[in-house]
């Protein structure tokens, strides 16, 4: 069945996700149309795809062009149309309208969005179009982050979801996570609630201290505010705003966007893409850090706390559980922040079992998306580090966090995150 998809049209191939996910398709032998507003844009995407594959040979599977000249031919030929254009519901609706006349009866159409209400993107489209429409949410960069969340709308044919799950796993080597059609799906919903909380705490403790406290040693590839510089502060705000508008759960009060974030956006301090966000790299190679109060940059203060350093040392020697014992036994406001964030991550992740993923899978889907989409230690791995599910329940109760039933029941499927040590970085 998965062999019925051989030609793909990528709309928005000048962008990162369009070009790199399209590149993966070309790497795996599919014929891929790279479409953009201009042919030059599509060709820039091609260069990005070549760099990802580290081979010019994939170019033979890719045809570049603009919408005006190539859209009809590409969509007509495609078995799958991937829409990866600007995150704007109106623009996406318009694109789907333009595509509809050319699609074949069995053509699959997917959007790469996770933050926009999926149904709104196909308003006005035919029943047949909607039947073949779903979201395929690739994580960035797809060459390194194999997670892909998929879900449909009410009209989507379940067989199409099943087919795409098989196809993405077998042909594109994705770790596919079936999610429910809810705002931000699983991964972004969990991560951006935590990011949001950390941006609030940064106002009080400072950018450098927050990234030091919730650094890679707590089970992530990058510190959280450095991650937001990579994501883009404007994108961060858009996702948090969307979560604010479309969710209502126990963590809703963490979704406040501090005023300084708006100032950052006004001052065009959007992160790496504007060469300044929470961090700014000087010509000397040194970094200065945003002061959230003044929105000016100040020199590094190089925080140093005994429990953090001890935990890092233990992680450097692969003594992971002892590192977490050091964190848990530490006292003081800063240690409490680390414990609070870790416990909130566990509490929130387990609370979403059944809400964003199928309850039958237990924590598996959420574990997968956090590991393979964010390169964070999965919630179940953090539970193990905290001493197991009962110990974690105790820690949540101490913090007056609601204890999710899934954690109490310690629901697990046969799946297990392996090599979990790699998620704890001694930095």
């Amino acid at each position: 069945m998965v062999n019925r998809i051989n030609t793909v049209a990528v709309l928005g191939a000048s962008g990162t996700i369009g070009s790199l996910s399209g590149g993966l398709m070309a790497q795996n032998g599919l014929k891929v149309y790279f479409l953009s507003r201009t042919k030059e844009g599509a060709e820039r995407g091609l260069q990005r795809a070549i760099a990802q594959a580290r081979s010019e040979t994939i170019a033979q599977n890719i045809v570049c062009g603009d919408y005006e000249h190539l859209l009809s031919r590409a969509v007509d030929e495609a078995d799958w149309v991937v829409e990866a254009i600007t995150e704007d519901a109106g623009i996406k609706q318009h694109m789907h309208e333009q595509v509809e006349p050319y699609i074949k009866p069995q053509t699959i159409i997917s959007s790469t969005t996770s933050s926009l209400p999926l149904s709104s993107l196909v308003q006005g489209r035919s029943k047949e179009f909607k039947k073949h429409f779903l979201s395929t949410h690739f994580y960035n960069p797809p060459g390194r982050m194999p997670a892909c969340e998929i879900t449909g709308i009410d009209d989507t044919d379940p067989e199409i979801i099943e087919l795409m799950q098989q196809f993405l796993a077998k042909r594109l080597r994705r770790v596919v996570i079936r999610v429910k059609n809810v705002a931000a799906f699983a991964g972004n919903r969990i991560a951006f609630v935590l990011f949001s909380r950390i941006t609030s705490l940064a106002r009080e403790f400072g950018v450098e201290t927050m990234d030091y406290l919730i650094g890679p040693y707590t089970g992530r590839l990058m510190p959280p505010l450095a991650t937001l510089d990579l994501v883009g502060i404007d994108i961060h705000k858009a996702i948090v705003d969307s979560l604010n508008a479309n969710t209502n759960d126990a963590m809703h009060n963490w979704l406040a966007v501090p005023g300084y974030i708006n100032t950052m956006i006004q001052k065009n301090l959007l992160g790496n893409k504007t060469k300044g966000g929470f961090y700014k790299k000087l010509e000397s190679g040194k970094y200065v850090f945003l002061d959230p109060v003044s929105c000016n940059y100040g020199p590094a203060i190089e925080p140093h706390m005994a429990f953090v350093e001890q935990a890092k040392h233990l992680i450097r020697m692969a003594r992971y559980k002892e590192a977490f014992e050091a964190i848990l036994s530490a006292r003081g406001r800063e240690a409490d922040i680390v414990k609070d964030i870790l416990c909130a991550y566990v509490a929130y992740s387990y609370s979403l079992v059944g809400q964003v993923t199928d309850s039958k899978m237990g924590i598996e889907g959420i574990d997968k998306v956090m590991s393979y989409g964010f390169h964070w230690a999965a919630p179940s791995v953090i539970v193990d580090m905290l001493g197991g599910s009962q110990a974690a329940v105790g820690l949540l109760r101490e913090r007056k966090l609601e204890v999710p039933q899934a954690l109490q029941d310690d629901l697990k499927s046969g799946f297990r995150i392996t090599n979990s040590g790699k998620y704890f970085v001694a930095k």
């Binding site: 580290r54 081979s55 040979t57 450097r316 020697m317 692969a318 003594r319 392996t418 040590g421 930095k427």
Partner: protein, 412 residues
């Protein structure tokens, strides 16, 4: 020589795609993860371990750390006092450690030895790492002042084939393609998610530069961080282990045969010495035939799988005829006929080998033995060769200076 049966009880391989320097981890962390994973995999009782042997090539250079065996006693308070040893034989370090473990078992000194192969290589930039690897050859004569000396030396192996028998580089490209293809099925392989195609392997380009004569980037094994931990046991211990785990002793893989030779360290001398020999590397051939003889097998066709030392495509090309899959100089036949591919008559490197799975130098010999164990016990997952009962491993050090071949299997 004693002929006591020596068994392999399984173990654990770290994910070879990891970059432990980026994780800011100490080399002992890699050993610890491999050890802890091995206990979980084998369900062995740690207090039964009588000694720990560590194979490693150059931690002093890559990590400024020697005396690796000593770190083992840090993994469990009960290990303080255990005998530990570190073995260095270039890329054959952990195969030589395994030979020594086997000898200690056969001598009746220990009945259960923990064997760890480990290398951390991503601490060095490519040029410096290439220079470190040069110490596996005759550094002053063959490597000093030469950028990436090993690709050049193994390029010369290809040149020698070309001179004596003719060599089409597309056959080398096919070897690379097969190893990458196999690696895609191995969840611990370094290149499992990398793009590769026969066409790319044939092409010299910005992303596939020639770095040593006819050797291109795609002809090379990887710079890899990795550790492997496995267990070598006496028949007495293996019998008790089998009984505890509901197994039959006959089902547990054992070392059926082995060969171990040393050729002159200088590559040019090796080639000059073999001028009148049908095999370009006769000491490699001898290690293989010694292993066949000790295992009581007539030829390679009594094997089900080979895990060979493809540090470069030329070394696998050499292994094909030296194992006897073809007449000397005719390795291309086995490649063209699909003999060495998964599903072929005698698959080579289902794991992906050093090119696909990765080559943490001092861990490779142990990795090959663990993969042999997995194949024989039917636990190799998506890279399983059906009904594999006998597996050969070939681990070479330097330019095929140290040669170690094991035949691992169950008696049919």
């Amino acid at each position: 020589m004693k002929d006591e049966a020596v068994y392999i009880l399984g173990g654990y391989q770290t994910d070879f795609a990891r970059n432990w320097a980026r994780e800011n981890k100490h080399i002992a962390a890699m050993m610890r993860e491999a050890y802890e994973g091995s206990i979980e995999a084998t369900k062995l009782e740690p207090s039964n371990i009588r000694a720990a042997f560590v194979g490693n090539f150059a931690a002093e250079l890559y990590c400024m750390q020697g005396h690796l065996g000593a770190f083992f006693v840090d993994f469990d308070p009960r290990f303080v006092g255990l005998p530990t040893m570190r073995f260095e034989n270039a890329c054959a370090a952990s195969a030589v450690a395994a030979l020594s473990a086997m000898a200690h078992i056969q001598a009746g000194i220990y009945d259960l030895i923990c064997l760890i192969g480990v290398e951390q290589m991503k601490t060095a930039d490519p040029a410096k790492g290439g220079e470190y690897l040069g110490t596996a050859a005759w550094y002053e004569k063959e490597c000093q002042g030469i950028e990436f000396p090993f690709p050049k030396l193994f390029g010369q192996l290809g040149d020698e084939y070309d001179k004596r028998y003719g060599l089409d580089d597309r056959h080398l490209a096919k070897i690379a393609d097969i190893n990458y293809t196999n690696a895609r099925n191995n969840p611990n392989a370094q290149t499992r998610d990398w793009f590769m195609s026969f066409e790319h392997a044939c092409t010299v380009s910005k992303y596939n530069t020639a770095i040593g004569g006819r050797i291109k980037v795609t002809d090379c094994s990887q710079v890899t961080d990795g550790a492997v931990c496995l267990y070598i046991a006496s028949k007495n211990y293996a019998s008790k282990y089998a009984a505890r785990h509901g197994l039959k002793i006959e089902e547990i893989p054992r070392i059926l045969g082995w060969g171990h030779t040393t050729a002159p360290i200088e590559f040019a001398k090796k080639v000059a010495d073999s001028a009148d020999d049908q095999y370009i590397l006769p000491m490699t051939r001898k290690a293989i035939t010694d292993a066949y003889e000790r295992a009581g097998i007539a030829d390679c066709w009594q094997l089900d799988v080979i895990e060979t030392h493809d540090c470069f495509t030329t070394s696998e090309y050499m292994a094909i005829d030296h194992f006897g899959l073809t007449q000397p100089g005719e390795s291309y036949r086995a490649i063209e006929e699909g003999v060495i591919e998964m599903g072929g008559k005698l698959p080579i490197n289902p794991s992906g080998g050093l090119i696909g799975c990765g080559h943490p130098v001092g861990a490779t010999g142990a990795r090959q033995l663990l993969d042999a164990y997995k194949q024989i016990t039917g636990t190799a997952g998506d890279y399983q060769v059906p009904n594999a009962k006998k597996v050969a491993t070939l681990n070479i050090g330097g330019t095929a200076t140290t040669n170690v071949c094991f035949i691992v299997g169950v008696r049919s």
